[in-house]
Symmetry: C2
Subunit: 437 residues, 2 copies
Amino acid sequence: MAEGAQGTRRLRGAIVVTGSEVLAGRVTDKNGPWVSQQFAAYGVETAGIIQVGDRRDDLLKALAQASDWGVDLVATTGGLGPTADDLTIEVVAEYAGRTLTLDPELESRVWAIVQKILERYPDIDVESLRATTRKQAMQPLGAVPLEPVGTAPGSLVPPAEGRGDGPLVIVLPGPPRELQPMWRAAVGLEPLAGLLAQAAPFEERMLRLIGLPESDLAAALEEIEGGGVALDRLEITTCMRSGEIEIVTRYEPGDAPVYDELDAAIRERYGARLYSDDGAGVDEVVRRQLIEHGWTIGLAESCTGGLVASKLIEPAGASAYVRGGIVAYDNEVKVSALGVPAELIEEHGAVSEAVAIAMAQGAVERLGANCGVSTTGVAGPDGGTDEKPVGLVWVAAVVPGREPVARSLIIPGSRNAIRERAVTFALHTLRTAVEPD
Amino acid sequence: MAEGAQGTRRLRGAIVVTGSEVLAGRVTDKNGPWVSQQFAAYGVETAGIIQVGDRRDDLLKALAQASDWGVDLVATTGGLGPTADDLTIEVVAEYAGRTLTLDPELESRVWAIVQKILERYPDIDVESLRATTRKQAMQPLGAVPLEPVGTAPGSLVPPAEGRGDGPLVIVLPGPPRELQPMWRAAVGLEPLAGLLAQAAPFEERMLRLIGLPESDLAAALEEIEGGGVALDRLEITTCMRSGEIEIVTRYEPGDAPVYDELDAAIRERYGARLYSDDGAGVDEVVRRQLIEHGWTIGLAESCTGGLVASKLIEPAGASAYVRGGIVAYDNEVKVSALGVPAELIEEHGAVSEAVAIAMAQGAVERLGANCGVSTTGVAGPDGGTDEKPVGLVWVAAVVPGREPVARSLIIPGSRNAIRERAVTFALHTLRTAVEPD
């Protein structure tokens, strides 16, 4: 743990996500990433995230493993439910060396909540609810209970006396809508509040680039370092996905001048290929462009099947700039709902420059929008030809006062990978149509 | 490790996912779940998944932690790229006690691939590409290289002589479209092929239920066990999400009769609330219904913004039953593109039974479909009223030969949680409209 300014220090945390459904790959875990972001917001560096099934021994080992990273706190998520495979609180108690005991006051508070469920399910067995309430009101002796948001309480569990400087364990429930408010309450409670107050903050910046290979960036970073910028003061990670490169840099506040040198060198080298410097993705950049111009948008989607629309509608307040969209999966719908001339499809095929442009224009006209974006592609796995292979995607963007812009790309990978990257590709095409590089 | 039939045994595996972008919660990891499903397909039980950043010490500890679960194999994903934060192969070599050395033949094969990149980026620095190629052709001495799918080779790394029975490490790249083909090649290569041949297979079954609380199921399972069904022979996990309960049961083939008893007891107790017994989600159940009836569908989405359409278009062959959809986010679009009478919106509000039904009917008419499904809701975080709070969602389904069905629900949680659960709710409404319980 590095020494920071004014008695602060670099705090580290780990996250243990329980649940066989996550481990088996049936459910995507959302809690690990969310808690990690919360850690970062409080200046806690996440050492690692462990996903483990609902097996007693594996979970106990996961807790020991998490502390092995040298962490100050461990958050657990899930395993607080009423069924027999919900083991977290008892395993955490064992790990921390504390006896599990019934908290009678907590039990009566949980029971008050549970009775509301009874109203919704009148045929339920009251005795079984009594038993599960008792199970959920068990707490490690000496721990600080966290009030339930659903029916499951959480807990702040310090190591038992004589267990040295083991981590504080923050026991949180699995459903995100319970976990998130409970975390927000927990950060104000001791001993977590006092621990977080010791954290030394760090800075984090993100640059997003498009249109270069990762190896080129690797060489650039070496050159920049060779040119005298002390990159060893910065923690730089690069990540390539959906055709974009993200450069994330973390550093202590005192190293801001070093970061500024890096930032300037990247800008000089890559110019307009650097399209975002504040963490905004292309969807957010496009959103800002639309709001700035006071424009609305309509979507015409084939292969992406509504994903572009749902991406743009994700943030609150989307009604200011999204009119709507037409998912024209069937060619007849491209004709009837978007007004694409049937001859155009016959002559060029549905996956073509001409049809992409006609779709985007149709979205503008039929939805009464200022701008239109379209996608049409061969998402596979079947339906590819030599001329139009699986992965070929045409996108088009129409914006006021400019010629329509259409671009194509052959995207490798699965049907889903093709669909997802086509969304990004369409949004970049709109972005550069609004502000040509 | 349990002894199985005919010299097989219960194999266990762990997965180490590297990448600061995953750890920081910026990127959703897809490799851990995918590899876990592959493990299961080969009869390997996943003990845990560890996500760790691109830090040398943390990664080395993660490998040690993974083996601490008592595993036979460890798969690593990511960290094989050209930049300095790509450390996996050298850390795995250290962990396995093997020297990292340049494989000259591998280098020339990688170089042949890299030269194609040169054609796409003519202004690239050739020397830097030479250097990164050399980095990517480093292998632990005695390991079996896995041929690159992109530019990064993987590796099968057995523990060094004298290191006892440590796990075999399977080093895989980060991009899913590289990882997946490489894994498929690796399972045919020694020593992985021989190891997998020893695995004792196990059975896995999934039941999905809707319309009951998890505590009721907990009580039901206890009762079933009390009634003499040997549930201790089965590994049962239950998971509540999006208003559904999943019961996943794993067992050794010899315990199939026990599972059959459990299955029968659940059916008897829950009847039509059990809606899937083969792992199919409601989207898949609806897909089968549409194909069985030879019906097509059109979507009319407001708060879900295209998510229902994109869900139904996800599988290949969707053109047989999806005509398309209209994302009518703006009320004017509900009127113009779906033909919802403006007076209806004025009288009842956009989030209402009447408008939901009119939207679904509009989707049928405007898209030329047999069935229509609509969603309209208050996704928040603003815009709620006492009468129509944030989370209120109305959905409707129209199917041939039946009265339209409309249902409402108040969904708790964030904007995204509301949108996602509204998708499931709409699909269940369609399902029960096609086949009333």
